[in-house]
Amino acid sequence: MSKSHKPVCVEMTIPSSSEFVSVVRLTLSGIAARLNFSVEDIEDLKIAISEACTNAVQHAYEEGSHNTIDLVFNIYSDKLEMIVKDTGKGFNPKDAVSEKDSSGSVDKFGLGLGLTFIKSLMDEAHIESKLGQGTTISMTKYVPQNA
């Protein structure tokens, strides 16, 4: 595997459609298995990438539109960086409703909790979103030193 400063890059683009989120998980599993992540770490990575894709599928674009989500997996020797990017509506991360103050909507529960999962399960997570321009979620998990 490549040195830390020079990643191997895997890119994929999926339709912004819920049925393709499991395809992303499958791809990620194959990539993460090459990095000696534990089974538990791989499960955490699967949840994080799914939450990022789900956010794009549910909130980025108007329903029924034919848009795409771009994914990048930067594979380092000691870490995996995952980037999920849409060019949709964007949102103010402060407006993401948390589980505690949700009004009861399933969608709102999912959005707030999804971001919480990403931040909890990854070592690093950055969310950039601009109204009208889209959202980019970058997530990094380090390979355990004793792996």
């Binding site: 819920s18 049925e19 989120v21 499991s22 395809v23 998980r25 538990e40 499960e43 699967k46 949840i47 799914s50 939450e51 894709c53 789900t54 599928v57 549910q58 589980e99 505690k100 009861g104 909507s105 399933v106 969608d107 529960f109 999912g110 909790l113 999804g114 919480t116 999962f117 909890s120 399960l121």
Partner: protein
């Protein structure tokens, strides 16, 4: 593509809904439909067996939270069977197990507490 199989066991005093497969943004509407149908027709407790699922994320928990709220308004409780560490972890991260959902290791214990 993700797949979800749901079986409803009505041979006990309360229904047991057994789920297999992956619960994600694509499949959670199917789970939502089954839970909503049950809650609309009964105010009894519900046992939701997640022991055979391969995956769940915030979308699945959202469906369970929404259903638990609806059932609690009718004085019912969702009792979830789950022993997998990864599934327990997402319940803990969500805080859902501290609200309207009770977690169990064994089906017999969930049935014993049901009404």
């Amino acid at each position: 593509m993700s797949d979800l199989s749901i079986q409803v066991d009505s041979t006990h005093p309360v229904s047991i809904i057994r789920v297999q497969g992956e619960i994600d943004v694509h499949t959670c509407p199917k789970l939502n439909q089954v839970l909503a149908q049950h809650i609309a027709s009964s105010s009894q407790d519900l046992v939701l067996d997640l022991d055979a699922i391969q995956y769940i994320d915030s979308t699945g928990l959202g469906v369970i939270a929404h259903s638990a709220r609806s059932l609690s308004e009718r004085k019912g409780t969702i009792r979830v069977i789950c022993t997998q560490n990864q599934v327990l972890k997402v319940f803990e991260l969500s805080g859902l197990h501290k609200k309207n959902v009770v977690l169990y290791k064994q089906e017999a214990d969930a049935l014993k507490d049901s009404q």
